[in-house]
């Protein structure tokens, strides 16, 4: 089973990389960009009997390693 995990910074957490990317986009004259937040995407293959079991496994993976829940949120998508 294929899954995608998206890890993003929580609201209110400063994102210097996102700010730098935003500034770079503006310097390329890409208009109308009002804000950039950078995150991470993990494409994962899971051996699981069903989507619920896969999601449980991936939730554990996120809590234990993939996200630092002090500053990051995660979203799990079973593809």
């Amino acid at each position: 089973m294929k899954a995608r995990i998206i890890v993003t910074l929580k609201n209110g957490v400063l994102d210097p990389q996102g700010k730098a990317i935003e500034a770079a986009l503006k310097s390329l004259a890409i208009r109308d960009v009002e804000g950039v937040r950078q995150g991470k995407v993990f494409d994962i293959e899971v051996a699981a009997p069903d989507a619920a079991a896969a999601e449980a496994t991936l939730r554990t993976a996120c809590e234990k390693l993939l996200a630092n829940t002090v500053v990051e949120n995660y979203a799990i998508e079973i593809l």
Binding site: V13, L14, P16, Q17, L65, V70
Partner: protein, 226 residues
Amino acid sequence: MHAAVIIFPGSNRESDVVRALRRSGAQVSLVWHADHDLPTGTDLAVLPGGFSYGDYLRCGAIAGRAAAMDAVRAHAARGGLVLGICNGFQILCESGLLPGVLMRNVNRRFICHRQTLRVERTDTRFTSAYRAGQVIDVCVAHGEGNYFADPETLARIEGEGRVAFRYCDADGSITVEANRNGSLNAIAGVFSEKRNVLGMMPHPENFVEDLVGGTDGRGLFDSLAA
């Protein structure tokens, strides 16, 4: 004082911290990250600086889950001393031994310079050789040293007097200019609740010999070995 220095793939400051510990009179052994135990009689576990696992995923994230860290957690739970410097501080935060997280520096740059710190308290196993409020001159070298914690956690750390060091100017004043990585409350080092675990971004082990520019880092190792 028996110190065990844990080495991860990508640690690179272990020689300096071993030298600083021995200079202060500690006996030092080296422990590989995959080992499940610390040497019998270990008083102090040390996580040195460097770039464990190439800073993949997040700084200190993978090292924080290493086998040796289970032994370090057990050691800390028994009241054993733990010191994490630079990447070691990041590992302590990632492993749950210290609150908060070290984010990318606010100026987005790797910073590497001499840095004055204010010693916030001297009634601890790590800082007893310093004077209260003493300003010490050490070094920083990091890209992710911007200390962050949620407001409740930060209030608890401050309320419990768990800030070990703050970035300050030469007179000991906490200024925006002196806090170049943007850490909340200019926090450079944090203690655990029982003050047996210390994580700090600056490198006291760099400054233990006059030959290389200063000796203000000695106090930390002298305190531990006393």
